[in-house]
């Protein structure tokens, strides 16, 4: 479902390698956690996957479409949630959702059904008529999530989706993603919350200084590290090198 081949991106004329020859495959129905220390290249990779950054080298194929050659087809297949919830402050919540539904061509009947259900899921029903500028950080994050889940994409690409969410909303999101994957959808998300990755992901990739240093199920990662107890220990050991 997601295939990344020899992906590289550098800055300052090659001095800083943000992503260095990354190769990765994520299957349909899989939840893939993308971990790494700050500045490791997680967000750069995600931005290249959704078309916000142009790779220097390599290819990204999502749902059978190449992001460089078929960007619109890729965008129709995915939902993207950025790491910081910057959205249109001068729109109301419902106006933002209608805008997202319009651009993803969600029919009126579907949005009448899905919008109230998703708003309930994230406890936003009471504020959806208000301007987004009155929302807290967490509420904005939840609204972006609702906008991203509206059109039922094949692939969810989420950059730190749990940041700012209250425990109930975070739990609801995890359940929603699990349920989506059981219907064959694919989730690719970055996180710093190792516990979430440990419990939610089918497979985990660890990126460090732009290179994928480990990738596999939790059991497979344990084989790579000396300390095999928790993902936190494995992560710390692998990223120390």
């Amino acid at each position: 479902m997601i295939e990344i081949v020899n992906l590289s991106k550098s800055y300052r004329k090659g001095e800083v390698k943000a992503v260095d020859n990354l190769n990765l495959k994520v299957k349909a129905g899989e939840i893939f956690g993308f971990l790494g220390p700050n500045g490791a290249g997680k967000t750069t990779t995600i931005k290249m996957m959704v078309g916000l950054l142009k790779p220097d080298r390599g290819s990204i194929t999502i749902n059978g479409f190449d992001i460089s050659r078929q960007p619109l087809e890729v965008k129709k297949s995915i939902s993207y949630v950025p790491e910081s919830p910057e959205i249109y402050e001068k729109l109301t919540g419902i106006e933002y959702l209608n805008f997202m539904a319009d651009v993803y061509s969600v029919p009126g009947a579907v949005r009448r059904e899905k919008i109230p259900a998703l708003l309930d899921l994230f406890s936003l029903s009471g504020v959806v008529g208000d301007l987004i500028q009155s929302y807290s950080h967490g509420m904005r994050q939840k609204l972006i999530l609702v906008g991203a889940l509206l059109h039922e994409p094949e692939v969810y690409i989420l950059d730190e989706p749990m940041v700012g969410l209250d425990p109930r909303s975070a739990n609801n999101l995890k359940n929603y993603l699990r349920e989506s994957c059981s219907r064959g959808k694919t989730v690719f998300f970055s996180t710093h919350i190792l516990e979430v990755a440990e419990r939610l992901c089918h497979r985990i990739g660890i990126i460090h200084k732009g290179r994928l240093i480990a990738c596999g199920t939790l059991e497979e990662l344990r084989e790579l590290a000396e300390s095999k107890e928790t993902l936190e220990n494995i992560f710390l050991e692998l990223t120390e090198k």
Binding site: N98, S105, Q133
Partner: protein, 554 residues
């Protein structure tokens, strides 16, 4: 002391000094690109300044002949001060109340006057850039022709540096009062906008009142002004008295020059002092809690279903998003509408006040109807050129441009949405055309021709401005005013659009000279407008996919 430290920081942030230094060391191409762009702006403005300098030369020759050589200084000071008074309103509002750093600054142990003073200085420098094209040519003409000595030149420069203080302090005090009144209101944005337009109207009316000449006594009045010592200078400076001090400081000579120079200095210091005094009392009152928006009533299930029902084509969804954002951001709305509102008011006030409307209407009515309609259309085209709606369309998206980049809507469709939105903004000049149609007793078909031709004539300005903004959008602004006022694309858009309109004028004139008929004029002007728009639109659509892919918000 804290104010000075904060000022240093504000200068680095607002003028990108740290970023420029970094680029010079690490990315020289980008540094020299920025420098080249600045030179390009100056080069773009220079041709417009040439006729202004010529006009000043003529004015100097006449006023020096009348023994009042300081007149051009007074004129330049009044003109640039009025501009600052009116156009710095949104600068001030934006920098004082909508800068992203305010939430941080408010939590620091700083006095209100420290923050206010530092931010005032930033606007002061920006306004120097606004005033320079009006004042410096006048100073040059005056200095060269009067054989000014080094001290006079120095005084002239010093006056220039202080020029923005008083008008800026006045508009700042107005904004401080306005915001302290409307800050916690639910209708804060609407009240802000009304306040800005009321201030604009008050300034224009006061200016008209102060500079009006009693009807029927024009000749006597003029004779009196010529006979009186410095009569013309005094009359010009009635709209803005410090202009008299500036003019006399440069032209009187001897002790009188010094005296007027110190008067000017005193008035500027008083303006600044008053602002800091008022600001210390009420700045925080207008700021704290301002970003909070009271939550409204929750939507019922039925209301939510109703609001979620509509499905729009993507281009319309984009246009609607742009319109909602413009309407709900007072700074954008004021900047986009000020010109449309201002131009007819500026033109109409003297006509009404001076009783010159009737003869002018008669003169226009003597012109053939189709030419009148073309005039109405040209007005709409010019308003589209002056409104920064299209030339800042991509820039205004700022850091939210990522949304446009990731949504599955082809860049061509998004651009169609932006053209649609820009046409809707251009159509806001329709009421003025309707008013002209009423005064000039146009037929319905004349009015319709003017409107349709006006929309067609708006297209070259819209498409060329969108093209310029897409080539190099300014997305990293930290307060919304910068997206329009500190965006060189707006200037480039006006210059490029102006050049296209000049071409259309030449085409129309050629057609008339060749045939002597009006239909070929219409065909040449409107056909030319459509052709130029099609070229700009074609280039836009051609480059858009790459631009949407390659633009990185850093």
């Amino acid at each position: 002391m804290k104010m000075l430290k904060l000022l240093g920081l504000q200068l680095k942030v607002n003028f990108g000094l740290s970023a420029l230094r970094w680029y010079l060391q690490h990315d020289p191409r980008r540094f020299w690109g920025s420098m080249g762009l600045a030179l390009l702006v100056i080069a773009g403005i220079a041709p417009i300044l040439y006729p202004y300098v010529q006009m000043m030369e003529t004015a100097y020759a006449i006023s020096a002949g009348l023994g009042q050589p300081g007149l051009i200084i007074a004129l330049a000071v009044v003109l640039s001060s009025l501009l600052v008074l009116v156009f710095s309103l949104t600068y001030v509002l934006s920098v004082f109340y909508y800068s992203r750093d305010l939430s941080l600054l408010l939590s620091l142990p700083l006095e209100p006057r420290d923050i206010l003073g530092a931010k005032f200085f930033v606007v002061w420098i920006l306004d120097l850039l606004t005033m320079a094209p009006f004042y410096l040519p006048a100073l040059w003409v005056f200095g060269v022709n009067s054989g000014a000595g080094p001290l006079s030149w120095l005084a002239g420069i010093f006056i220039f540096l202080l020029l923005p203080v008083v008008p800026l302090a006045l508009s700042s005090i107005f904004v401080l009062c306005l915001m302290s009144l409307v800050n916690l209101s639910r209708k804060r944005d609407t009240l802000q906008l009304m306040g800005l337009f009321l201030f604009l109207a008050a300034v224009l009316l006061l200016n008209t009142y102060l500079t009006s000449i009693p009807a029927g006594e024009e000749m006597d009045y003029l004779e009196k002004l010529l006979a009186e010592e410095q009569g013309l200078v005094r009359f010009t400076a009635r709209a803005y008295p410090p202009a008299f001090f500036a003019a006399r400081a440069l032209s009187a000579g001897g002790e009188l020059s010094w005296l007027n120079f110190f008067y000017f200095l005193g008035v500027s210091a008083a303006g600044l002092g008053l602002l800091l005094l008022v600001g210390q009392q009420i700045f925080y009152r207008g700021l704290i809690g301002g970003s909070e928006v009271q939550q409204g009533r929750a939507l019922s299930r039925d209301e939510l279903a109703g609001k979620a029902a509509g499905a729009l084509p993507p281009a319309w969804a984009i246009a609607l998003r742009e319109i909602k954002y413009l309407v709900r951001t007072p700074i954008y709305l004021f900047n986009s509408l000020a010109m449309v509102a201002l131009v007819p008011i500026v033109l109409a006030i003297p006509l009404f006040a001076g009783g010159e409307l009737a003869p002018l209407l008669e003169q226009i009515q003597a012109v053939p109807g189709p030419i009148q309609a073309l005039g109405g259309a040209a007005f709409m085209g010019l308003m589209a050129l002056f409104a920064p709606a299209a030339s800042s369309s991509f820039s205004r998206e700022g850091r939210l441009f990522w949304i446009s980049q990731v949504i599955p809507v082809a860049p061509e469709q998004q651009i169609r949405g932006k053209v649609l939105y820009s046409l809707i903004i251009a159509s806001l000049s329709l009421p003025v055309v309707a008013l002209a149609a009423f005064w000039l007793s146009w037929t319905i078909s004349q009015f319709l021709i003017a409107v349709i031709a006006g929309m067609i004539l708006s297209l070259p300005a819209i498409t060329s401005s969108l093209l310029i903004d897409l080539l190099r959008p300014y997305l990293t602004w930290d307060n919304p005013q910068k997206a329009i006022k500190q965006n060189v694309n707006v200037i480039f858009g006006m210059v490029a659009g102006g050049a296209l309109y000049y071409l259309l004028y030449l085409a129309g004139r050629q057609a008339y000279e060749a045939t002597g008929a009006l239909l070929p004029v219409y065909l040449a002007v409107l056909g030319g407008a459509l052709a130029l728009s099609a070229i700009c639109y074609g280039v836009l659509v051609k480059i858009a996919p790459a631009r949407y892919r390659d633009i990185v918000i850093s």
